[in-house]
């Protein structure tokens, strides 16, 4: 590949694409800014009383979005073989199930006389 062709292929690559499969520095900065903005939105929701009835589900969704962004782009799981996603998800799913089951057992069922 000549130098010109090489430059052309690099220029045509998307901004988040790099020749090593990882993203550019500016792309990571954008992800950092998005994470900070989402954190700001979470805190705003916490302080707005009108949001109280929907607070918990919205905060959980926003928190999950932040976790996914960090895992996919900062931890590069998006660029890794699918097998690593399965390894990681095994732990996440089991932990989520454990937390959810205990919350249901100790907080939800007693409210219904269970």
């Amino acid at each position: 590949m000549s130098t010109d062709v090489q430059h052309a292929s690099e220029a045509s690559a998307p901004d988040h694409g790099h020749d090593d499969g990882h993203a550019s520095a500016s792309f990571y900065v954008w992800i950092g800014v998005i994470l900070a903005v989402v954190t700001g939105v979470e805190v705003a929701i916490f302080y707005i009383e009108a949001m109280d009835p929907y607070e918990a589900p919205i905060l959980v969704i926003l928190s999950a979005a932040k976790v996914i962004l960090v895992i996919m782009y900062f931890m590069h799981l998006k660029m890794e073989p699918k097998f690593l996603t399965w390894v990681f998800m095994a732990g996440v799913v089991l932990a989520t199930f454990m937390v959810s089951a205990l919350v249901v057992l100790y907080h939800v069922l007693p409210a219904f006389g269970g």
Partner: protein
């Protein structure tokens, strides 16, 4: 013989195409999810069951914790930029970003320990109530992880400064980054479940 040499050149890659080091570390992270899952479960189970105060709503300063959370989020950004610099062979940039990670980790710890001192003044200690016990064990375990991560970053700086981590060996920084980002993820979850959803 040739196969053995190829295996050595391949830095321990397995039939999955993933290096043993990376596969092992992702498995460790998955196990850490369960470890923190048990601590979060314990906190959630005891939530609202403390018979003596102070209670979460009375003492938590969400604004201060938001600032420390944002600092930790940006330390993750510095970590990924450090890895980026190592991969590009930019030694000075890599050291600078890793120093930023340590500095932001230190700021996070400083702010959190300051909060601990305030909570202790309010009467919340490790033995004062089920809330105190589960809160300090969960967040304290997270802080131990942050300290270990900062020590790991300091070791990486030492290795990079001595040219022990060239771009070809950037996986060492990548693995440390996985650890640091995981610590960040755990705090994202703790921040939401403990401080915001009270």
């Amino acid at each position: 013989m040739a196969q053995a040499a190829a295996a050595v050149d391949d830095h321990g890659h397995t039939t999955t195409g993933i290096s043993n080091f990376k596969l092992g570390f992702w498995t460790f992270i998955a196990s850490e999810c369960l470890f923190f899952g048990t601590l979060i479960s314990t906190y959630m189970v005891y939530k609202g069951r403390a018979v003596v105060g102070p209670y979460p709503a009375e003492i938590f300063d969400v604004l201060i914790t938001t600032i420390s959370t944002t600092v930790l989020l940006f330390s993750s950004l510095a970590m990924v930029l450090a890895l980026h610099a190592v991969q590009l062979g930019r030694k000075k940039h890599a050291i600078m970003w890793l120093l930023a990670v340590i500095a932001m980790g230190g700021i996070f710890l400083g702010m959190e320990f300051n909060s601990y001192l305030k909570y202790i003044d309010y009467g919340l200690t490790l033995t004062s109530s089920t809330f105190g016990s589960s809160y300090y064990v969960l967040t304290g375990t997270h802080k131990v992880h942050v300290v270990l991560g900062m020590i790991w970053m300091a070791i990486l700086i030492w290795l990079i400064a001595r040219d022990r981590i060239p771009p070809a060996k950037s996986e060492q920084v990548e693995i440390a980054g996985l650890y640091w980002h995981f610590v960040d993820i755990i705090w994202i979850v703790i921040f939401t479940l403990i401080y915001l959803i009270q």
